[in-house]
């Protein structure tokens, strides 16, 4: 089985995000960028499938500008065998991403498409679902556990009500949640070897995909600053304060 994994370049989770003064977006100047953490989890799961002998080949795909190749190199250091870089310099909406990923999927014909449940930049949580819909294949989102058995996958999903176990036919789109696994440390020799693994570059035109219309970002603004808290001296005061706010 081939496993396809999508990875996205995002602002590192440790970075304190700063909105540009004119509200046109987030400041990316000199900001540390990394692989989306949920994609790391998806990568880890794919590599584990390969190590277990369930998967023969792991292919990483990213959509982004020149620099996004760095995240493909990270994916290759994780253990992907090769990578596909869909070069797009503009911002890509979830629907456009889904169209691109559908085209890559059709070209590669993997048995499983692993994705992160969402990217921590915009937290859209849409691309996985859209990709599966466009492909007309099953989806299992928010995976906390994944088992492959022949042509079927059993996925324990993390849903609001708790855990839900479903079975899907393969190929399917599975999106990784936080507890699916703990991604490994990249070993230094693997980091260096990744430099020599093949990365294929394609354009949207090569894939015959057009950007989806519809989404424009009008303004980016930081969340309102949290107001300072207050200190209470006694439990009675605490209860009174909570009542006052209508919380109890």
């Amino acid at each position: 089985m081939k496993v396809l994994v999508s990875v996205k370049r995002v602002v590192d989770y440790n970075v304190r995000i700063q909105v540009k003064g004119d509200g046109s977006g987030v400041n990316l100047d000199g900001v540390k960028m990394s692989m989306n953490p949920f994609d790391e989890i998806a990568m880890e799961e794919a590599v584990r499938l390969k190590e277990a002998g369930t998967a023969e080949e792991v292919i990483a795909v990213t959509i982004g500008g020149d620099k996004a190749e760095e995240q493909l190199r990270s994916a290759l250091a994780f253990g992907a065998d090769r990578a596909i870089h869909v070069k797009v310099n503009e911002e890509v909406s979830p629907l456009t991403a889904a169209r691109i990923l559908k085209a890559v999927f059709e070209k590669e014909q993997p048995g499983l498409f692993l994705m992160g449940k969402q990217a921590i930049d915009d937290d859209n949580n849409q691309t996985g679902q859209m990709t599966s819909a466009l492909l007309g294949i099953p989806q299992a989102t928010f995976a906390g556990e994944l088992k492959i058995d022949g042509n079927k996958a059993t996925v324990v999903r993390e849903v609001d009500a708790g855990l839900e176990t479903i079975e899907v036919d393969l190929p399917a789109v599975v999106t990784a949640d936080l507890r699916l696994n703990e991604p490994r440390y990249l070993k230094l020799p693997d980091i260096m070897k990744a430099k020599r693994k093949p990365v294929e570059t394609v354009s949207m035109a090569d894939l015959g995909v057009e950007a989806a219309p519809g989404l424009t970002v009008t303004k980016t603004s930081p969340p309102p600053a949290r107001a300072a808290g207050i200190k209470v001296k006694t439990v009675d005061e605490l209860v009174a304060a909570l009542k006052d706010k209508g919380l109890v």
């Binding site: 990270s74 440390y185 230094l188 980091i191």
Partner: protein
């Protein structure tokens, strides 16, 4: 920095993650116990390929240039104490460079490869009770008897000394009058008969790093444990000091960053006389200047590294980097502790931790004054010397 590529950042990330998950949670305990489990920690680092970044691939290294080691040294400095990064530096940059450069294939297979893998812990044994700065003044002797060296003497303040498996030891093998041409570096297995090293020294700081006195009484070591040529030990050691000094300099940058950041945070939330401590111009101006010094020191290390990559002699730049970072670490931890007040004087505050730990840097690995001596020599301003 221009020479920091994606791979440098990945190496940093792996190192920082390792420190955060496998070292920092135990630092408090290891500091209290006066010992960290070097074999366990080094094995973890070795498994990830972090102990042989610049070492030849035949022995399990990565064969990369020194810029990658600087990235690693900086990252390992995210440790919440100074002792463990120093002990790691002994393994990668103090005890092994000469062996990698001049050792025989056999010797490298026996001692370098397992040090890179993290299976053996290495020490560098140069200093003696009577000779620290004055390296040429050491008294330990290694006499050739048949196929062996027989070693007698004492080595003082040896890092990793109680736990180490082998030491790269400097001894006099030749005529006493020829102070610079009579020395040799020899690999000494520390379980050899005649070695006594039970004395763990009690120190002001770097407490989780074990420091020992090693007594050598008629210790027999095969002559093939000689690194390179007999009589070249002093010059090999001088060369090996360059990596040592660059590593030491780079490894304390993040510690200074940490003390600095913690101080900004502490003084910002500490309200006295109706405003935060940080809001006093005296405080934030002083901090602004310290940060400037810190970035200048960092730039000096990168510059020295660039010199090394380009094959230039880095003695001057590495000595300057060592002098500057050591001095700055004393100033920075002292000033930051002051701005914290009583809370900064508490044992486990980060200013106190690094006030103790980094104080060593002006003494060990060549004292500040030794650096000034070297710098003066290179500038041609020593008395009686013309450039």
């Amino acid at each position: 920095m221009s020479f920091f590529t994606h791979e440098h950042h990945e190496i940093r990330r792996t190192a920082e993650r390792f420190v955060e998950q496998h070292i920092n949670p135990h630092v408090e305990q290891w500091e209290r116990e006066g010992l960290f489990p070097a074999h366990e920690v080094f094995k973890g680092l070795g498994d990830l390929g972090m102990l042989g970044i610049t070492k030849p691939e035949e022995y399990g290294g990565l064969g990369l240039d020194y810029s990658y080691q600087v990235a690693f040294a900086e990252a390992i400095g995210t440790c919440t104490c100074g002792g463990i990064p120093m002990a790691i530096g002994v393994q990668t940059d103090m005890a092994t460079p000469a062996l990698a450069r001049f050792g025989s294939d056999e010797l490298k297979k026996e001692y370098l490869a397992p040090a890179i893998a993290g299976d053996l812990v290495a020490c560098i044994a140069v200093s003696e009770p009577g000779a620290g700065s004055d390296v040429a003044g050491i008294k330990t002797t290694a006499k050739r008897v048949g196929d062996d060296y027989v070693i007698n003497g004492q080595k003082m303040w040896i890092t990793n000394g109680t736990q180490g498996d082998w030491a790269c030891l400097l001894a006099n093998t030749g005529d006493e009058a020829d102070r610079h041409g009579n020395k040799s570096l020899i690999v000494v297995p520390l379980d050899a008969a005649g070695i006594q090293r039970e004395t763990k020294l009690d120190k002001l700081g770097q407490r989780s790093s074990d420091t020992a006195i090693i007594f050598l009484d008629n210790v027999k070591v095969p002559a093939r444990n000689l690194i390179g040529q007999e009589g070249k030990g002093f010059s090999y050691q001088m060369q090996q000091f360059q990596e040592e000094r660059l590593f030491l300099s780079a490894s304390i940058l993040k510690a200074m960053d940490r003390v600095f950041d913690d101080t900004v945070e502490y003084t910002r939330q500490r309200n006295i006389f109706g405003k935060s401590v940080l809001d006093n111009q005296y405080v934030h101006f002083t901090l602004a200047e310290l940060k400037t010094e810190l970035e200048a020191a960092r730039a000096l290390i990168y510059r020295a590294t660039e010199d090394m990559l380009e094959g230039r002699d880095v003695t001057l730049a590495a000595s300057m980097a060592k002098l500057k970072t050591a001095r700055l670490s004393r100033q920075l931890t002292d000033v930051c502790m002051q701005f914290w007040g009583g809370q900064g004087y508490m044992w486990e505050s980060s200013p106190a931790q690094f006030y103790r730990d980094l104080r060593l840097h002006s003494i060990g690995g060549g004292a500040d004054e030794v650096m000034m001596q070297i710098i003066s020599k290179h500038l041609g301003i020593l008395p009686g010397k013309k450039k």
